[in-house]
């Protein structure tokens, strides 16, 4: 590998790994707390990306309004557009997807506790609906996104030059991880979450509202996915099917790390993210890299079915 190959591989690893970690973290949380498999998680990512689109691209509202009008048989147009930059888009993406996640939880997911296979199917259906709605509202085209100027250049450390944006991604991910850690381990609500994870009936008997823990946790997990999507949006084009590209990878991360283990998701995300990037550089082909990594993960699962961080307890520790 040449010099710049190292840089590309490293920076890709950073960004892909971070995105995977963020997405997988949400999945691990949902599975750990509620024993639910959320196949709509990828679509939460997609919603985050489209939120970023609406927030930053002034054409977005026009497209949205026109399509909405078209659906209703009316001819609506607007020149109104939002011009926020990325820094505002991220919290917006979090909020929007958190709200959608909250709604999804109270309308659907809460009937599917401890039924991972049923929830898998039902949330896949929900995801299909969400995808189609977004397609109807925003069209099926790819949408390119624009980075703020400050993040567009490279950043030189010593001999290496890495695109600033990739470092930014890693930074945001670290912030989110920190937030998750603080929330789970330093707040009283986090304590409630951990109680529910370890012993749901007991936690309920002690007065903890498991309903609220579930709804809030699910919303938060979706929000994380939204942030991941928002970040991802600025790396590549966005499309209403982008969720499908990441959902399987995200689940592989969760399995690799040991189902429901948060630390495992981080480790798994880092491994799969860098694995993908490195193999991509070696093979020169993104798709083949994906194939190779998927097969390697499957083989690893065969060798060690409980994942990287298997623990005998179903807790966050």
């Amino acid at each position: 590998m040449s010099f710049t190959d190292y840089e590309t591989a490293l920076s890709n690893s950073l960004s892909l790994g971070s995105i995977l970690i963020l997405t997988a973290l949400g999945l691990a949380i949902t599975f750990g707390v509620m024993r639910v498999i959320n196949m709509a998680h990828g679509d939460m990512m997609m919603l985050g990306a489209y939120t970023a689109f609406v927030m930053t691209d002034s054409n977005a509202m026009g497209i949205l309004v026109r399509n909405l009008g078209g659906l209703l048989g009316k001819d609506w147009r607007t020149d109104f557009g939002l011009h926020f930059n990325l820094y505002y888009a991220i919290p917006a993406a979090f909020l929007v997807t958190a709200v959608v996640g909250f709604l999804l939880e109270i309308c659907l997911v809460r009937f599917l506790y401890k039924r991972p296979l049923d929830s898998l199917l039902a949330t896949w259906g929900a995801g299909m609906i969400i995808q189609q709605v977004v397609k109807l509202l925003f069209g099926a085209n790819l949408q390119p996104m624009h980075l703020p100027e400050a993040l567009q250049e490279g950043w030189t450390i010593g001999h290496l030059t890495i695109p600033r944006y990739r470092v930014f991604i890693a930074g945001i991910t670290l912030l989110c991880l920190l937030a998750v850690y603080l929330w789970f381990y330093r707040t009283s609500f986090g304590l409630k979450i951990r109680a529910v994870v370890q012993n749901r009936p007991m936690a309920s008997a002690m007065g903890i509202s498991t309903r609220r823990v579930d709804s809030v946790t699910f919303a938060f997990a979706s929000g994380l996915a939204g942030v991941a999507g928002c970040i991802l949006a600025h790396l590549y084009n966005i499309k209403y099917t982008m969720g499908n590209d990441y959902i399987v990878d995200a689940f592989m991360v969760v399995i690799l790390g040991g189902m429901g283990q948060l630390a495992g998701s981080i480790g798994g995300g880092a491994i799969i993210g860098s694995g993908n990037s490195v193999v991509e550089k070696l093979l020169g082909n993104t798709s083949m890299a994906k194939v190779v990594v998927l097969v390697l993960v499957i083989v690893f699962i065969f060798i060690r079915p409980s994942g990287l961080f298997a623990s005998k307890e179903r807790t966050y520790d």
Partner: protein
């Protein structure tokens, strides 16, 4: 506790331990006969008849999904892999045949055989050696069944011995099919990429060309034969063990059965059936693309079975046909609405109708029998439809284990089931 010997049941001579209800047998045979009707009704309809042929092939695919999921309780989200393998085996054959016809060359494997258009387009110098022999349809058909059989056997042997099940199993099968999809799409010169292979020749076996009604009757006959074979298998002792594994694998192990081998067998059988269905599908459809290797396809097949009634063979066929009919109908009129309808079907079936249409019919039947005063006993080997309190019987193996008060909590269950949730 002791009762009269007169209370001991009278076992029928043909099939042990099950009172075969004659009315039901008649209904099933009527159903199977009805499958042939579209061949007559749409005899020269160039629009509907090929579609129905497609539906029948997909019904066979649904049977294979039902065997693995409905009967054995293993949610495989990657059955499309085996369907796809069969599809491509025959797809290559028909494509090579078509290219040979167009170039006026003999239907033989040779270094100078005619290049299919997609290979030509990608500037492949000649047909790859490993694809050449497939021009022989007999080889292709054999491979369409044997290759999926082989791969599913290998996969099953490894996976089930490791006691991988439930969510893990579902996600791994999904990852596998996605890997193969990505591979196939990526290797456009060899596979036709995302578009796949179009303009396939018509299926020709034993000198007979199968088009329109011939094709329909061929597929439907194969479907019915496979149905009968599966029905016999599932009503035999083997089938009882399979459903017992779904219900309570621990118990089956404690009785001395090597459940991994049983699961591998049924998984292999399902793989072979899926391959066959893929081969038939491509023959009827005229195009072979990677869609069936995508994750959406395999998941959708699960919903066909769920909607029709998992654990019942009739339900699998019914679900496949009805959902795909709806697909055709809505895609014609309301293309935008179809994904929303399908998604709602996923949700609806899981939440409200877990035993599908067959379950609903059975409940209706039971209710009407009750109102007419005579309580009909449930038939042996059926899934427990309509018994809401027995929801734990659903093939979702993730229901929490029954409370075992004297055990050390959590740790015990984890140690005895280290391979996953």
């Amino acid at each position: 506790m002791t009762k009269d010997a007169a209370n001991a049941p009278n076992l029928t001579p043909v099939l042990p331990s099950s009172r075969v209800s004659v009315p039901r047998l008649i209904l099933v045979f009527l159903f199977l006969a009805a499958l042939f009707i579209p061949g007559q009704y749409y005899a020269n309809n160039k629009y509907w008849l090929p579609l129905y042929s497609k539906y029948m092939a997909l019904a066979l695919f649904a049977l294979s999904v039902d065997l693995v999921w409905g009967y054995t309780g293993l949610l495989s989200l990657g059955q499309g892999l085996y369907f796809g393998l069969g599809a491509y085996a025959v797809g290559y054959s028909l494509k090579l045949q078509q290219a040979a016809r167009v170039a006026d060359k003999p239907l033989l494997a040779a270094p100078d055989m005619a290049l299919p258009d997609f290979m030509d387009y990608c500037r492949l110098p000649e047909v790859p050696v490993w694809i050449r022999p497939l021009i022989d349809i007999r080889l292709a058909l054999t491979l369409a069944i044997l290759l999926p059989l082989l791969i599913s056997t290998l996969f099953g042997l490894v996976t089930f011995r490791l006691r991988i099940k439930g969510v893990f199993f579902a996600l791994i099968t999904q990852a596998l099919v996605l890997a193969v999809y990505t591979l196939v799409v990526n290797q456009q010169p060899y596979t036709g990429g995302v578009v796949g292979m179009t303009y396939l020749a018509k299926l020709e076996l034993f000198g007979h060309k199968f088009v329109m009604t011939d094709m329909y009757y061929l597929i439907t006959t194969i479907l019915v034969i496979c149905f009968l074979g599966c029905a016999l298998l599932m009503r035999s002792k083997f089938g009882k063990i399979i459903t017992a594994i779904r219900d309570n694998e621990n118990r089956v192990l404690a009785l001395g059965y090597n459940t991994a081998m049983y699961k591998t067998f049924i998984f292999a059988l399902a793989g072979a059936l899926a391959g066959l269905s893929g081969a038939l599908f491509v023959s009827a459809y005229g195009t072979c693309g990677p869609d069936s290797l995508g994750i959406a396809w395999s998941i959708e097949a699960v919903i066909w079975v769920a909607a029709g009634g998992r654990g019942t063979l009739v339900g699998a066929i019914l679900g496949a046909v009805l959902v795909n009919l709806a697909n055709t109908y809505f895609n014609d009129k309301y293309t935008n609405a179809w994904p929303i309808i399908l998604g709602s079907l996923f949700i609806g079936v899981v939440l409200f109708l877990p035993d599908g249409i067959m379950g609903g019919l059975r409940t209706l039947g039971r209710l009407s029998m009750k109102t007419f005063g005579r309580l009909r006993l449930p038939r042996a080997g059926q899934s427990v439809a309509g018994r809401k309190h027995e929801a734990s019987v659903l093939p979702d193996t993730q229901r929490p284990p029954p409370a075992q008060p004297s055990q050390v909590p959590n740790i015990q269950a984890l140690v005895t089931d280290p391979k996953g949730p």
